[in-house]
C-alpha cells in the first residue's frame, strides 16, 4: 500500500512546554567536595542543544588532576558517610527523591534541552523513574542486613561511575542511589554532550544537605573517565556505555581489587508470532525502537516477524510510522526528538548507508527534518539477513532491521545470534509460548507483550557482551557491597 502524508486538517497546533521553568547559568564548574570549582587546568567545553545547536552553557572540563582531587574528597567523606546509621543515609536519599519530584518539570525541560529527547519522555519516563529510584534505594539503606548478603554487609569505598548521554539523569540515579544507600561515596562523570542535569543534581545534593564530598560530579570527556577508572584509590567502577569502552575498562581494572559492573550495548530482538495482536505489537515495536530516537541500549532494534504475518504487520507498522511527529523536542506532541550529537548522527547515517550498500531495503515515512540541529528520520530496513551489518551492529538510532522466521526454534536461534544479550521482546497470545521462548532467550530483560518497561525494583543488565552485574532491585545492591 502507499503511505500518504496526513492531510493538513489533522495537523497539530504547536504546544511547546515553557522553557522559563529552567534557569541555565552561562557557566558551570566541577562539583568537588561540596563546591563548584574550576578545572585545575582551566579548561572548559560547551554543552549545546542538539535540536537547535544553540550553546546552552559552558562547563568546566575535568582532567586527571581534578579526578584525583574528587577521589580524595570522596575518600575523606567515606569514613563518616559509611559510619552513619543506615536510617540517616536513608533520610538523605528520601530528601533527594522528594526534591527531584518537586523540581521534576524544571529537570525535564533541562534534560530535553541538553539531550534532544521529547519532553513527553523526560516528563513521563525519565524524571518519574529518577525520583522512584532514589525513593526505592533510600528504603534499603537501613535494611541491608536483610538483603541476603549476610549480616551488616560493608560498602566498598569510593565508587567511580561513568555514565552515558542517552538518559543522563536516570543513569545518574541508577548509579548514585544504590551507591549511597550502601554507604559508598561517589565520583561521577556525566557524558560530555549532556553534563547539565548532573550539575543540577549537584545543586539538589546541596539543597538536601548531603555532606560534602559524598557526591562529586566531574563533567568531562573520555580521558577523565579513563583516569577515574584507573585511579588507584577507587574501589568500585560502574560504567554504562559502549561495549568497546566497557572492554577497555575491564582490561584496566584487571589484576586490581576493584569491583566492576558494566552495562553495555545491545541488539535486542523483538519477536512477533503469527497470533500476536497486530495493533499492540506495532505499538510495542514503535516504542521498542523509536523511544528516545532508538538511542537505548535495550532497544528492540531487530524485528523478528513470523513470515506468515510479515506483510500485514509491516503495512500496519509503516502506517503507524507515518503518523509519528518529529521535531521540536519541547513540543508536547513530539514523538521523535533530535539525535544527541553530530557525531552520533554521523554514525547512524554511516550504518544506514551501509545497510543500503549491503542490499537491505530502506524505507522511511515522508518526514520533514528541521533545518538546524541533528535529525534522523525513523527508518526501516527489510530484506535483512543475519549477515547484514544492520542486523549485527548496534546502531543506537531510530533504525529498525526486519528479519523473518518460520518456527519458534528459528526465532530463538536468530534472536540469540548476537554478541549481545541485553533485551528481547515476545509478542504472542499463547502463554506457554511466551514462557518457553523467554526461557530460551539469552538476554537479561525480556518483555512479553510489552517493551521498554523499567522500574527501580526490577534488575536490569545483560548477558554476554552486554556486560555484567545488575542495576535495580535487591540485585542492584550487590554491586556496591563487599560481598
Amino acid at each position: 500500500m502507499t503511505i500518504e502524508k496526513r492531510s493538513s486538517a489533522f495537523e497539530y497546533a504547536p504546544a511547546p512546554e515553557s522553557r522559563s521553568v529552567v534557569d541555565i547559568a552561562p557557566s558551570y564548574g566541577l562539583f568537588i567536595d561540596g563546591e563548584f570549582v574550576e578545572a585545575a587546568d582551566g579548561k572548559v567545553f560547551k554543552s549545546i542543544s542538539p535540536s537547535t545547536e544553540e550553546v546552552l552553557s559552558e562547563v568546566a572540563q575535568a582532567g586527571t588532576e581534578d579526578v584525583d582531587r574528587a577521589v580524595k574528597a570522596a575518600r575523606k567523606a567515606f569514613g563518616t558517610w559509611s559510619a552513619l546509621p543506615g536510617s540517616e543515609r536513608a533520610k538523605y536519599l528520601f530528601r533527594i527523591a522528594r526534591i527531584v519530584q518537586e523540581r521534576s518539570r524544571e529537570l525535564a525541560v533541562l534534560e530535553t534541552l541538553d539531550n534532544g529527547k521529547p519532553i513527553k519522555e523526560t516528563r513521563d519516563a525519565d524524571l518519574p523513574l529518577v525520583a522512584a529510584h532514589f525513593f526505592y534505594y533510600a528504603g534499603w539503606a537501613d535494611k541491608l542486613d536483610h538483603a541476603g548478603f549476610g549480616p551488616a554487609p560493608k560498602p566498598l569505598g569510593v565508587a567511580g561511575q561513568v555514565i552515558p548521554w542517552n538518559f543522563p539523569l536516570l543513569m545518574l540515579a541508577w548509579k548514585i542511589a544504590p551507591a549511597l544507600a550502601t554507604g559508598n561515596t561517589v565520583v561521577l562523570k556525566p557524558a560530555e554532550t549532556t553534563p547539565l542535569s548532573a550539575l543540577f543534581f549537584a545543586d539538589i545534593c546541596r539543597q538536601a544537605g548531603l555532606p560534602k564530598g559524598v557526591v562529586n560530579i566531574l563533567p568531562g570527556y573520555g580521558d577523565a573517565g579513563a583516569a577515574l577508572v584507573a585511579h588507584p584509590d577507587v574501589n568500585k567502577v560502574a560504567f554504562t556505555g559502549s561495549t568497546a569502552v566497557g572492554k577497555e575498562i575491564a582490561r584496566t581494572v584487571a589484576g586490581t581489587k576493584k569491583k566492576l559492573t558494566l552495562e553495555l550495548g545491545g541488539k535486542g530482538a523483538n519477536i512477533v508470532f503469527d497470533d500476536a495482536p497486530v495493533d499492540q505489537a506495532v505499538e510495542g515495536i514503535v516504542n521498542g525502537i523509536f523511544f528516545n530516537q532508538g538511542q537505548v541500549c535495550c532497544a528492540g532494534s531487530r524485528l523478528l516477524v513470523q513470515e506468515s504475518v510479515q506483510d500485514e504487520l509491516l503495512d500496519s507498522l509503516k502506517r503507524r510510522l507515518s503518523t509519528l511527529r518529529l521535531g521540536d523536542p519541547l513540543d508536547k506532541n513530539t514523538d521523535i526528538g533530535a539525535i544527541n550529537s553530530a557525531e552520533q548522527l554521523a554514525r547512524i547515517t554511516a550504518l544506514a548507508e551501509r545497510g543500503e550498500a549491503e542490499g537491505a531495503e530502506r524505507w522511511s515515512p515522508a518526514c520533514e527534518l528541521p533545518s538546524s540541529g541533528y535529525w534522523f528520520a525513523p527508518t526501516l530496513f527489510t530484506n535483512v539477513t543475519q549477515a547484514h551489518t544492520v542486523a549485527r551492529d548496534e546502531i543506537f538510532g531510530p533504525v529498525l532491521s526486519v528479519l523473518t522466521f518460520r518456527t519458534p526454534d528459528e526465532a530463538v536461534a536468530k534472536a540469540n545470534n548476537t554478541q549481545y544479550g541485553l533485551s528481547a521482546g515476545i509478542w504472542t497470545e499463547k502463554g506457554s509460548r511466551i514462557l518457553a521462548v523467554a526461557n530460551k532467550l539469552r538476554a537479561g530483560v525480556v518483555w512479553s507483550n510489552t517493551f521498554n518497561k523499567f522500574d527501580p525494583t526490577s534488575p536490569f543488565g545483560g548477558y554476554k557482551e552486554s556486560g555484567f552485574g545488575r542495576e535495580g532491585g535487591r540485585h542492584g545492591l550487590e554491586a556496591y557491597l563487599d560481598v
Partner: protein, 294 residues
C-alpha cells in the same frame, strides 16, 4: 609380601565423556611430595583446550535444560560413586599432597560431603536469589538465575581434590558446563575424578578435565570467544592479571583468586559468580470496575 607385579594406570584426560590422551602426544612426570615418580600425566595442548570447550558447549543445552531436581540427583550420585572409591582417593590424595592416611581420609570425606552439599543446592538457589519484583504497574515481573554457559576453571594448585571439587561442583550445580585445569603438580586425583563422573550420570562434556601446565592451557581458554566465564582460583597474581585482561575480549565473567579455606562450609558466592539474572515482564491487565479489561 606378594611378588605380583602391579598394573599401572595410564592417566588420561576426560573430555566429552571420553578419556583421550593429549592430542599432542605429550606427557609429564608427576611425583609425590618426596619426589618419587607416581605416573605420567597428559600434558595438554591448546588444541586439547579448544576440544574441551567444544565438548562443554555441546553439553550446555542439555545440562542447563535439565530440571534442577535432576541435576541434584546427578550430583548426589557423584557423591555415592566417590564414597565407593574412597580407598583409591585416600591413597591418591595422600600421595599427591603428602598427607598421612588419616588426614587424606578426612579430605576425601569432606570432598564427598561437598558434593552432597551442592547436590542439595540445585533446586534452592533460584528461590534464594531470584523472585518476583513489585514493579509499579500492571505487570508480573520475575527475576530468575540462569547459568552463564561454559566456565573455564583453574583448579586450586594446593588442594588437589577437595579444592578441585569445591570449585567444580558450584559451577555445574547451577547448570553451567566446565573445562577444568587440574592442579599442575598434583593432577592425578582430578584425572581419577573423571572416572567417577563418567559413571555418575553426569552427561559427557559437562565436566572436562585437562592436566598439564596451567598457564599454557589457561591462556587459550581465557581468550576463547566461546567461553563465558573463568574461575582463576589456581592462578598466581601475575597469571591472573594476564588472564583477566584476555578475558575482557568477550567480557567473560571473572572470579579472581582469593584466599579460601576449603575445609570450611562454602557460601553461595561460587554459584552466584557464574549465574546471570533474567528478568521477564508479563502484563497482568487489571479487573476494572466495569468488568474485565485484561
Amino acid at each position: 609380601m606378594s611378588d605380583r607385579l602391579s598394573v599401572f594406570k595410564t592417566y588420561k584426560l576426560y573430555v566429552g565423556g571420553k578419556f583421550p590422551r593429549s592430542e599432542s602426544g605429550r606427557v609429564y612426570e608427576v611425583s609425590d611430595s618426596k619426589g618419587n615418580w607416581l605416573a605420567n600425566a597428559p600434558l595438554s595442548s591448546r588444541k586439547d583446550a579448544r576440544d574441551a570447550v567444544v565438548a562443554a558447549r555441546k553439553a550446555f543445552g542439555g545440562w542447563s535444560g535439565a530440571t534442577a531436581y535432576n541435576r541434584g540427583q546427578v550430583l548426589y550420585r557423584v557423591a555415592e560413586m566417590l564414597e565407593g572409591r574412597r580407598e583409591q582417593f585416600v591413597r591418591e590424595v595422600a600421595e599427591a599432597e603428602g598427607l598421612s592416611k588419616a588426614k587424606a581420609a578426612a579430605v576425601v570425606d569432606a570432598t564427598v560431603d561437598r558434593w552432597v552439599w551442592y547436590a542439595g543446592w540445585t533446586d534452592k538457589i533460584a528461590q534464594v536469589i531470584g523472585g518476583a519484583n513489585p514493579v509499579a504497574g500492571p505487570y508480573f515481573n520475575l527475576s530468575s538465575p540462569e547459568p552463564t554457559g561454559v566456565v573455564a576453571v583453574l583448579a586450586p594448585q594446593e588442594s588437589s581434590f577437595l579444592g578441585l571439587v569445591s570449585v567444580v561442583a558450584p559451577v555445574i550445580a547451577t547448570g553451567n558446563t566446565a573445562v577444568v585445569i587440574a592442579s599442575e603438580k598434583a593432577p592425578l586425583p582430578a584425572l581419577s575424578l573423571g572416572e567417577v563422573l563418567a559413571t555418575s550420570d553426569v552427561p559427557g562434556g559437562v565436566v572436562n578435565v585437562l592436566s598439564g601446565r596451567t598457564a599454557e592451557i589457561a591462556a587459550p581458554l581465557a581468550a576463547h570467544q566461546d567461553v563465558n566465564a573463568i574461575d582463576l582460583a589456581g592462578a598466581d597474581e601475575a597469571l591472573a592479571k594476564e588472564l583477566e585482561i584476555a578475558a575482557a575480549d568477550n567480557l567473560k565473567r571473572v572470579l579472581r583468586p582469593q584466599a579460601v579455606d576449603y575445609s570450611e562450609t562454602p557460601g553461595i558466592d561460587r554459584m552466584t559468580a557464574f549465574l546471570e539474572t533474567k528478568t521477564v515482564w508479563h502484563p497482568t491487565g487489571s479487573l476494572g470496575a466495569s468488568g474485565s479489561s485484561y
